[in-house]
C-alpha cells in the first residue's frame, strides 16, 4: 500500500464493491414502496441468513472502513504534496467540482452513516443479538416488524430532510467515483469510456433518487 498506484487501485476496487452493495440496498428498499410483504421477507432473509449476517456483513463493514480510511490517507498525502497553496486558483476551468471534493462529499456520507446506523443498524443488532429475538415479528403478533419500523422512522420531517440531503451528497460522490474507478484499474477506451461516463451519471442519479423516493414515500404515506 506504499505505492501510489496500488492505493489508487485499492480505492477503486473497494469503490466497485460498495457500488454493488448500494444497488442491492436500494432494490430492497424500493420493495417497501410497492410491495410491503416482499420487503418484509427480503429484510428478514437479509437479517437472519448466516451467510449474509456473518460473512457478507463483516466484509461490507471492512469495505466501508477500508474505503474511508484510505480516503483520508490519500487526502492527507495529497494536501502535503502542495504545502504552499496558490493565491489565485481557477480549478473549475479544468475539472469538475465533484472530482475535486470527494473528501467533502465522502465525509458527508460518513456523517450520514452515523445517523443511519443509529436509526436502523444499532437497534437491529440490539434486538437480534442482545435481546436474542430472531423472529423478526412485532412483539406479541405474527406480523413482521421491518416495514412498520421503517414506516415509523420517516414520520419525522427533519430525519427525512437529513436523509434527502445526504443522498444528494452521495449522488455527487458517485458521479465522480463510478467512472473514476474504471480509469484507476486501467480501463480507458475511446469507445467505451464515454458510455461509462454516461452510466456513471445515470447510476449517481438513479440510485440516490431511489433512496429519496423511499424516504419521501413513507413520510407522505403516514
Amino acid at each position: 500500500m506504499s505505492v501510489s498506484i496500488v492505493r489508487k487501485v485499492a480505492m477503486a476496487l473497494s469503490g466497485f464493491f460498495l457500488l454493488s452493495f448500494l444497488l442491492l440496498h436500494v432494490s430492497i428498499n424500493l420493495l417497501s414502496v410497492c410491495c410491503p410483504a416482499a420487503f418484509d421477507s427480503a429484510s428478514h432473509f437479509m437479517g437472519t441468513f448466516w451467510l449474509i449476517q456473518f460473512v457478507m456483513q463483516p466484509v461490507l463493514a471492512f469495505g466501508v472502513v477500508f474505503h474511508l480510511v484510505l480516503g483520508f490517507i490519500l487526502e492527507l498525502k495529497n494536501r502535503s504534496s502542495r504545502p504552499v497553496k496558490y493565491a489565485f486558483s481557477n480549478a473549475a476551468a479544468s475539472s469538475t467540482w465533484m472530482s475535486r471534493n470527494m473528501i467533502i462529499t465522502g465525509v458527508m456520507v460518513l456523517l450520514f452513516l452515523g445517523l443511519h446506523f443509529y436509526d436502523f443498524w444499532f437497534p437491529e443488532l440490539n434486538v437480534k443479538y442482545m435481546q436474542g429475538d430472531m423472529s423478526g415479528l412485532v412483539e406479541g403478533t405474527d406480523r413482521f416488524r421491518y416495514w412498520e419500523e421503517l414506516h415509523h422512522k420517516f414520520q419525522d420531517p427533519i430525519r427525512v430532510g437529513l436523509y434527502v440531503l445526504a443522498f444528494v451528497f452521495l449522488g455527487l460522490h458517485l458521479m465522480h467515483g463510478f467512472q473514476s474507478a474504471f480509469q484507476s484499474v486501467g480501463f480507458n477506451h475511446r469507445r467505451y469510456t464515454p458510455i461509462i461516463k454516461k452510466l456513471s451519471n445515470i447510476y449517481a442519479i438513479v440510485v440516490p433518487l431511489g433512496f429519496v423516493i423511499v424516504a419521501v414515500y413513507h413520510f407522505l404515506a403516514q
Partner: protein
C-alpha cells in the same frame, strides 16, 4: 505605440531564494502590445524595473516557440494562463484586456521547490527519467521498415505520448500535485513500441517508485492535467500506466 499600449496590474510572486518566505507584489506595467507574448510582456516589465533600479523578476524561458517546456507560470489561476493547448510563450496579451489585474505565480508542488521568484526546480522529472525513461539496449542502425512491424495505432499513440515536453503543467494544475500524466506519457511512449517492451516491466516499477519518492501527490482522476497539458497528452496514458504497473507488480519475479 506608447499611446496605444495596454496598462496592466501584475501581482507577481517574489521570492529571493529557496528559504525566503516570498510574497505577492503589485507591479503596474505600461506599453504592453496585444501582439506581445506573455513572456515579452514580462521582458517589458523587467526593462521598466531595471530602469527604475529595481530587481527584475526571474522566470524560466528558453525556446519561446512552445517546444522546450521551460516556460511555466500559473497565470490567473491556470497553468500557462487562460488558453488551452499552449505554453506561456504561446500565450499572447490579446487574451487579456486593458486595465486587467493578472496573478502570476510559480508552479506549486512539494516536488517543485521555488528557486527564485517564478523559477522552480523541476529536476524531480529528470530523476524520474533517470530511473527508467530510456532504452539501454542497442537498437542498431535503421533497418528495413518491415523487419519490425508496428501497428499504426500503437505508433500513433506512442508518438502522441512522446509529445510531452516535461513542462510540469500537469503537476501544477493537479489539485494533488500528481505527476501521473508526465510519468504515464514517458512510460507509454516506450511501452507501446517493440524496442521499449524489453525493459517495460522494470521501467514502470522504477519510474513509479521514483515518482513517489519525489513527493508528488496521488492521482484522483480529476482530469485537470489533460485539460491544461500544452501538448494534449491523454488520460488514456494514465490508464495505461495503471495497467502496466499492475501487471508488472503482479508478474515481476524480482
Amino acid at each position: 505605440m506608447a499611446d496605444h499600449g495596454m496598462k496592466l496590474t501584475l501581482k507577481i510572486w517574489r521570492q529571493k531564494g529557496p528559504k525566503d518566505a516570498g510574497k505577492l507584489v503589485d507591479y503596474p506595467v505600461t506599453d504592453v502590445s496585444p501582439d506581445m507574448s506573455f513572456l515579452e510582456m514580462l521582458d517589458v516589465l523587467n526593462e521598466q524595473l531595471v530602469m527604475k533600479g529595481e530587481e527584475p523578476v526571474a522566470f524560466d524561458h528558453d525556446c519561446r516557440e512552445g517546444i522546450c517546456g521551460m516556460c511555466s507560470l500559473y497565470i490567473n489561476g491556470r497553468a500557462h494562463g487562460p488558453q488551452t493547448g499552449i505554453t506561456t510563450c504561446q500565450l499572447h496579451m490579446r487574451s487579456f484586456n486593458d486595465g486587467d489585474t493578472i496573478y502570476i505565480e510559480p508552479w506549486r508542488a512539494e516536488a517543485f521547490p521555488v528557486i527564485k521568484d517564478l523559477v522552480v526546480d523541476r529536476s524531480a522529472f529528470d530523476r524520474i527519467i533517470q530511473a527508467g525513461g530510456y532504452i539501454s539496449v542497442n537498437t542498431g542502425a535503421a533497418q528495413d521498415a518491415n523487419c519490425l512491424p508496428v501497428n499504426k495505432k500503437d505508433a500513433d499513440a506512442a508518438f502522441s505520448a512522446a509529445m510531452c515536453i516535461g513542462c510540469g503543467a500537469c503537476v501544477a494544475t493537479c489539485k494533488n500535485a500528481s505527476a501521473m500524466l508526465f510519468v504515464s506519457a514517458k512510460v507509454s511512449q516506450l511501452a507501446l513500441l517493440p524496442q521499449g517492451r524489453i525493459e517495460a516491466e522494470e521501467r514502470v516499477l522504477n519510474m513509479v517508485q521514483q515518482m513517489d519518492v519525489e513527493g508528488f501527490g496521488n492521482c484522483t482522476n480529476t482530469g485537470a492535467c489533460e485539460v491544461e497539458c500544452p501538448k494534449g497528452i491523454s488520460l488514456q496514458n494514465i490508464a495505461r500506466l495503471n495497467r502496466e504497473y499492475l501487471s508488472a507488480a503482479l508478474m515481476s519475479e524480482k
